[in-house]
Symmetry: C2
Amino acid sequence: MKQAKWIWNYGDFELYHCMLLTNRRTVVGVMKPPMWRVDEPSCNLYAYKTAVIDKTETVTFHSNSPQSCMQIGGVIYNPGTSVTLTEGEYTVKVYVHKRDGFPAAYCEGDVFATDETWLCCAFDGNDKPVGTNDMYTELSDDPEVFKFSYERIYPCSVEKAAGGRLYDFGKECFGNIILEDVQLPNSEIPVFCGESREEALDPPNAIVQFKAKVENGYFKSSPVAFRYIFIPLSSIELKLSADFEYIPLEDKGAFRCSDETVNKIWDTASYTLHLNAREGFFDGIKRDRWIWSGDAYQSYFVNYYLMNDNDIVRRTTLMLKGSEPMTHHINTISDYTFYWIIGIWEYYFYTGDKDFVIKIYDKMCSAMNFIMGRLDENGLYAARKGDWVFIDWANFDNDSGPMCAEQILLFKTYESMAKCAELAGDAFAAEKYGSLAEKICGFINELYWDEEKGAYVDDYKTGNRNVTRHANIFAILYGVADEKKKARIINDVIKNKGIAPITTPYFEFFELDAMCRIGEYKYMTDMLKSYWGGMLELGATSFWEEFDPNDTGLEHYKMYSSKFGKSLCHAWSSSPIYLLGRYALGVYPTSAGYKTFEIKPNIMDYEFIKGTVPTPDGNVEVEMTKDFVKVVSEIDGGTLILDGKTYNVEKGTALYVNR
Amino acid sequence: MKQAKWIWNYGDFELYHCMLLTNRRTVVGVMKPPMWRVDEPSCNLYAYKTAVIDKTETVTFHSNSPQSCMQIGGVIYNPGTSVTLTEGEYTVKVYVHKRDGFPAAYCEGDVFATDETWLCCAFDGNDKPVGTNDMYTELSDDPEVFKFSYERIYPCSVEKAAGGRLYDFGKECFGNIILEDVQLPNSEIPVFCGESREEALDPPNAIVQFKAKVENGYFKSSPVAFRYIFIPLSSIELKLSADFEYIPLEDKGAFRCSDETVNKIWDTASYTLHLNAREGFFDGIKRDRWIWSGDAYQSYFVNYYLMNDNDIVRRTTLMLKGSEPMTHHINTISDYTFYWIIGIWEYYFYTGDKDFVIKIYDKMCSAMNFIMGRLDENGLYAARKGDWVFIDWANFDNDSGPMCAEQILLFKTYESMAKCAELAGDAFAAEKYGSLAEKICGFINELYWDEEKGAYVDDYKTGNRNVTRHANIFAILYGVADEKKKARIINDVIKNKGIAPITTPYFEFFELDAMCRIGEYKYMTDMLKSYWGGMLELGATSFWEEFDPNDTGLEHYKMYSSKFGKSLCHAWSSSPIYLLGRYALGVYPTSAGYKTFEIKPNIMDYEFIKGTVPTPDGNVEVEMTKDFVKVVSEIDGGTLILDGKTYNVEKGTALYVNR
């Protein structure tokens, strides 16, 4: 018998778990609903496989619903039935209906063991492969239960406080709070969680709080973010612990340098991303715990230099897209739809996973068609009612917002789409989007470039010629500006103190990426120390959503007009891992899936750097001091670029270059 | 306080109940899955109302899920919360997430009591009114439970048979089988249902059968169709009864004549439709119990002359359409998509319910766009892979099927769409579909009309000039043929015994309608006696899916290669009610909603006829003998047409005309 896998409608696993997590946000004990349409899996699975078998095999049909059946040659069988097939051609069909959860099937067998070779009947002639996940290969597995790992953890200290007890787990955590052997008369115990001590001790304002409904002395909460737990019951210490919930993703990437603060930044960034690497990439673990396309886009980059896990990127991508028809932008934000498409191309470029691009290509087309329905007469993106033009939540000093930045993202979207279309064998679309990319690039340079200011303006329509850093950073990153314009931008925007600085860590990712791209490494390393180092100085055990060194005390926790509104564990703050891997170790693919790649190490202002960058087929280790560079690669295709010279890197052979 | 109603996403109530009923088919104890995509409600409801209140009111929020909240002015409240609003403008928002079932909300209040004035947030700028149903107006109502009425019924006889007991309920029934005070050691009692005695007594072949899982001596089944129940347990008589499940729809229409067989036909047809008038109009109550667009289309006509219930037509229409995007024809059958659109126009014409047309207009557009994606270079309908060209399940004697009949339905679809577009204020579409109707009518007459044969051929492409009755019947009914062509059709097709007769009761509806339209009443009344009368002679208590007077014994029950495959209670066999109301009583609207109507009574071959036809605003009673006609109308707008003369019918005043 071949190893079977649970099968479902492609994408349903992701839609189901995303639906659950999107609908579980509470604020101070009240549900806070999502701001967009939440999609769900289909309630029906209709899958089949046609094959010729040359020896007898027994097919046993299982499903996760009694409302299901297997059909072979017109005969229908109940779940649990085994049918023995002698050699010949058969079509084995399975049908499962399940609404509270999602329908999934599992056939034990050989040729007919369920796996990716089964097709879903779409009733429209476009039958496509089913969905599977390598976490769910045993009959006893339940795809409706996300396969997290759990580790029992205990408070490292307990203290009396505010008429109750405060339990400190020593660092930011995520998991189920557990109460055992509860001897209290109350059957409902109020529990207040805090990422900070202050938050836990502030019952009216603690974002995460609930009443523990104790049964038989026992209670287990749904998973929440916490470091501190406050229980306002006088003098009794409870047997309190937690099931730390996580995915055991190995850190394939590594980084060390002579600066211990930077090493601690790297470790804390790693912990931050791990906490947010769940069903998909979360924005943060405390507050909304949703999947946001812009946040996820940055997490992907960190992932490629840390865990290099393909499945979480695929899951996140499917979660973000939702179902057809597309009626609003992803997370309602236009830039987030653009990142979604760009991110798929970049996923392919880092991983070489062409199969995923082919599988998701029809969803890319639907997103693209949605975008194309929102263009103006020049083919430029024009926001419609309900579209949120985000870019960065800083205020833009004009009426229509940062439209140039949107156009640059659209340009990159066309480019990405053209390349993915080529992978999917859609030559017509490849040609079409290629030429649209060229066309919009021309329009951007014609309409938004201001030769006098040496900058792209936010919007040409307003006539106010307002310049912010955002569009100009994108112009560098996404290749809209030629070398001449780039030089002007560096001089007149990037290094121009008259242009308002980037203030959000979200956009800091793009700025630091661009600064490194133009060789301004010191800007990045200084920022590491002041911004990320600043959080560490305040005792951060994970990196925050935002940080202002000028804040004091409770000011650090405030955000969105809420006393503890700020997330103290936010995925987008883990970017140092990407920046150090990409620009210090200097490893990056130059063709899809690291078939070829470059190593352009940069010691920055450290005594030494040393680390590992994972690739789809093996690791690349880089070590650099003032005196030498050492590269050990587990794959072929690498070129070391050092001090203006290039060196071929052979798989398995250490390359030393003295400087 | 104003009477509130439960609210949900428009259409979700129908999608939910249709999903349940579509997935509960079993055959000989095994699930038989639907052959199309089954849609489901959304798991999220996001509804709101903005209004100015000029006096204080208290709004109390309820929902059918703990994962829900009400939001007023940025403050979020848990379900069960009451909020008092002083005068001013407010937007009250409610959010409900529910997956096992569908999300629904209920606000007590005055201006903010939930009802049709609330809007659903669609996140795409196209917010539309919520759905409601007048059956669900109390807080204690549960829209997830369809509001049937129940009546406890008991077998009228019990006999020992085949080593067990056979319980006879005396007539076709639908409901939950109940076992009480069961003293048997078995906890699972096999139960075999039969529409016929023979079926119940044939355990390997009885379509409806199950194992009754008795708990504490009690068992209640899910609802099934039955007249006979066989329980193969030696010698013990069980306390067996049933909860007859029905909607208490009043018969507003009535018909009596001098022929008692015809009266019994009318009564049995009425009972047949009532049994099938459930969540929506079923095809039949035993076998698949699904909603089929072609079957429903005929039920609508009978409904307009019997119960005249608007809500069941609306529910059925919403159930058939399903969700966006449309990826296959309704029930996968192209003609069924056409009937769906035509049926909406006819619904409006019989009821005057413009509001429904406006609400469903976007779904009509989506169906129309789906159809338009399947036309050939002449704009004629061309089936794609997966499209089922049905028309009638008789075999057509050519390669490509009855394409002319499809084109005529498409013509009528365009006409219906043009008129509905006008109602919806979409002048552009009204113009477009009007001209498409004209164009395709021209093509049909140019390409499919065979002057030599005096008939429309099935398909012009095959060159075989094959003629069947179907397209020619449609040409008469839907107005494609001019008077000259019509005369040729009557002579060369309808009255031509060389053209194969219609053999299915489904298409008999269209044939008899057409025969009456051309004045061949005797054909219809003869058919009443031979076909429907023939079933009565065999003891039918409801009318069958199909009937062949030449069959004997068990042959009557066989269909679809299954010994008891035939449904003995099939909605489409209730057409005598329509035929007698429309052509004997002769009442029909001449403008939408019976604003104007004609009464063209025809005594057929009876001594007298007498009956009632319901209209939206009141009944029209007609009595006719050889000597006089009497008309009493509760509404204005009627014209009696008798023996070539016309008479104005005044509301509330009996009109006698001696002949």
